[in-house]
C-alpha cells in the first residue's frame, strides 16, 4: 500500500468497504441443498411419470382400475384408501394427542410430565417397520376378534361396517393413529405452551377452574396452531408406507366397508414398483407417487404456516 502511494498511483475508493463475507455465501449455498433437493425430487417424479401423465390425463385421478396386463391404470382406489386411513387415524389420534399435549404443557407434575414426554418421544423413535410387524401379528388379529367381528356381526345390515377381515382399512387407520400421535402431541404442546401466560393467569384469577381455563381460554387461543398440528399429522399419515402396506390387505378396490382390505398410494408403489416392466406401468406407479408428494406438499406447507403464525402471534 505504502509503496503504491509513493509511486503516485491513484488510491481507488472501493464502493464496498467491508470485504465480501465468503463464509456467509458458502454456508448459504450449502443450506440451499435442502430446498433444492425438494424441488429436484418433485421435478424427477414429474419427469418419470410423464408418460403416464400424458397418456391418461386427468382420467388417471378418477379411474378405478389397476391392470398391468391391459395397461389400464386409475388412482382413485389408492387415493380413497390413503385419505380414509389418514382421516380415521386423525379422528382417533386427535383427542389423545391434545389431551397429552395439555398434560405436558401443564405446570408442575414434573415427574409425570418427564415420564409421558419420554414415552411419546420413544413412540416417535420406533421404526415404522416395527409398528408394521406388531400390527400384522398382534394388533390386527386382536382388533379382528374383539372389535371388527363383534361390530360387523351386530351391524351386518350396515354396509360400511360389514365383512370383518384381519387386514383392513380399520387396522391400518389404527396403526397410523399410533404413528402420528407423537407429531400431533409435540406440536400441540408447543403451541399450547406459546399461549401467553397472562391469559391463563387472568382466567385463573377470575376464579375459572382448570377445565374452564383450558376450554374457554387456552384451546381457543391455540386453535389455529392445533389445527396446524392436526394437518401436520395428516401429512405424516398420508405418506406413511411400510406399516400400512403390511396390514391394509393390499386389495385394489374402493372397499365396501371400513373392515375390508384396501390399498393406499404408497403401498401400491412399495409392492409393485420393483416388478413393474415396460414404459407405462412404472410411469403410472411414479404418478401415484407424484399425486402423493403433491398432496403432502400442500398439506405440509399449509400446516407449517398455521403453526408458525400461532407461534409468531404468541411471541408478540
Amino acid at each position: 500500500m505504502a509503496a503504491r502511494a509513493e509511486a503516485g498511483a491513484p488510491l481507488r475508493v472501493t464502493s464496498n468497504p467491508s470485504p465480501p463475507d465468503r463464509y456467509r455465501l458458502v454456508t448459504l449455498i450449502v443450506a440451499l441443498t435442502a430446498p433444492v433437493a425438494l424441488i429436484v425430487i418433485v421435478y424427477i417424479l414429474f419427469q418419470q411419470a410423464w408418460a403416464s401423465v400424458t397418456h391418461f390425463g386427468l382420467h388417471f385421478l378418477v379411474g378405478t382400475d389397476w391392470n398391468p396386463v391391459t395397461l389400464d391404470f386409475g388412482a382413485l382406489p389408492g387415493i380413497f384408501g390413503t385419505v380414509t386411513t389418514s382421516l380415521l387415524a386423525l379422528a382417533l389420534a386427535l383427542p389423545v394427542g391434545v389431551a397429552a399435549a395439555l398434560v405436558l404443557a401443564e405446570q408442575g407434575h414434573e415427574r409425570v410430565r418427564g415420564f409421558v414426554g419420554t414415552g411419546i418421544e420413544l413412540l416417535a423413535a420406533i421404526p415404522s417397520v416395527v409398528y408394521g410387524i406388531w400390527a400384522l401379528y398382534v394388533l390386527g388379529p386382536w382388533t379382528f376378534e374383539h372389535i371388527e367381528s363383534p361390530v360387523s356381526d351386530r351391524f351386518s345390515n350396515v354396509g360400511w361396517l360389514a365383512q370383518a377381515s384381519p387386514r383392513s382399512l380399520f387396522t391400518a387407520g389404527l396403526i397410523l393413529a399410533v404413528m402420528i400421535l407423537p407429531t400431533l402431541t409435540a406440536v400441540s404442546r408447543d403451541v399450547i405452551r406459546a399461549v401467553p401466560r397472562g391469559m391463563k393467569e387472568n382466567s385463573v384469577a377470575l376464579g375459572a377452574t382448570w377445565w374452564e381455563t383450558t376450554w374457554q381460554v387456552i384451546l381457543p387461543a391455540a386453535r389455529s396452531g392445533i389445527f396446524g398440528a392436526t394437518i401436520l399429522g395428516l401429512g405424516r399419515a398420508l405418506g406413511e408406507t411400510i406399516a400400512v402396506t403390511m396390514v391394509i390387505g393390499n386389495n385394489y378396490q374402493i372397499p365396501p366397508s371400513i373392515f375390508s382390505p384396501a390399498y393406499t398410494l404408497a403401498s401400491v408403489i412399495a409392492n409393485e414398483f420393483t416388478e413393474a416392466t415396460g414404459a407405462l406401468y412404472p410411469a403410472a406407479l411414479v404418478e401415484l407417487g407424484l399425486v402423493l408428494i403433491l398432496v403432502t406438499l400442500v398439506v405440509n406447507i399449509v400446516a407449517l404456516l398455521l403453526v408458525r403464525s400461532t407461534a409468531a402471534r404468541a411471541a408478540i
Binding site: 450449502v30 443450506a31 441443498t33 421404526p127 416395527v130 407417487g289
Partner: protein, 284 residues
Amino acid sequence: MTRNLRRRFTDRLAFSGAYALTGVALIPLALVLFYTASRGLPAISHTEFFTNVERPVGVPGAGVAHAIVGTLILVGIASVAAIPIGVLGGIYLAEYGTNRIADGIRLGCDVLIGTPSIAIGLFAYALLVAPFHHFSGLSGSAALAVLMLPIVMRTTESAVSLIPGGLRESGLALGLARWRVSLQLILPAAAPGVVTGALLSVARASGETAPLLFTGFGNPFLRFDPTQPMAALPLIVYHFALLPYPSLQEQAWGAALVLVILVLIINLVSRYVLRRQIRLAGQL
C-alpha cells in the same frame, strides 16, 4: 352452590379424562416394546443370529449379520454425506437466518422432513439405479441422506441459536474472522446439541424401510461393496414378516428387536448428551 358443585365436578372429570387419555397414548408403546422383546428374544438369544447370514428355510443357524453390516454401511455413507452439509447449513440458518431466503430454506427443510419417504426412494431410483441398471447400496445411502439432511439442519440451527451472543461478540472483538468464530468457537460450544441432532437423524435413517425397497433392495449374502445391492435390517423385518414360514417370522421379530434396541440406545445417549449441553449452556 349447585352450580359451583357442577363446575367442580366437570373440572375434575375433564382433568382425569385428560390424564386417562394421556395414559392411553402410552399403551401402544408398552405393547410394541413388550411384544418385540418377547417374540424377538428367542431369535437373538442364539449367537449365530449375529454371526451368520440367511439360510434356506429349514436349515438351522440362520442369522442377520449381513443385514447388520448392510445397515451400518448404508447409514454410515449417508451420515458422511448428510451430516457435514446439514451442520453447515444449520449454521447459516442460525447465524444469518433473519432474511427471506433463510425463511424459505426453513420451510423447505420442514416440508422435506414431512415428504413421504417412499417418494424419496423413487427419486433415488430414478437418479442412481435406473441409469446403472442395477440396485446399489450407494443409491440407498443417497435416499437416506436426503431424509437425514433436513433433520440435521434444523437441529443444528436450534443448537447454535442457543449459544449466547456474548461468545460470538467476544470472538469478533478479538478480530477473529467470522468463519473462525463460527467453526472454532460457536460450533464446539454447541457440539452436544449438534451431536444430538445427528444421532437422532441416524436413528431415523437406520429404521427406514420404504426408501430402501428399490435402492438398497436387499441381498442374502454378506457384502461390503456399496455399488452392489445391499441388505438392511428393516428390509429383513419387512420381507420376512410377510412370509408364511415361522422360522423366518422369528428372524423378522429378532431383527425388529435389534432395530428397537439400536434406536433406544441412540435416543438414550442423545438425551444424556443434550442434558450436558443444557448444563454447559448455563455456565456460558
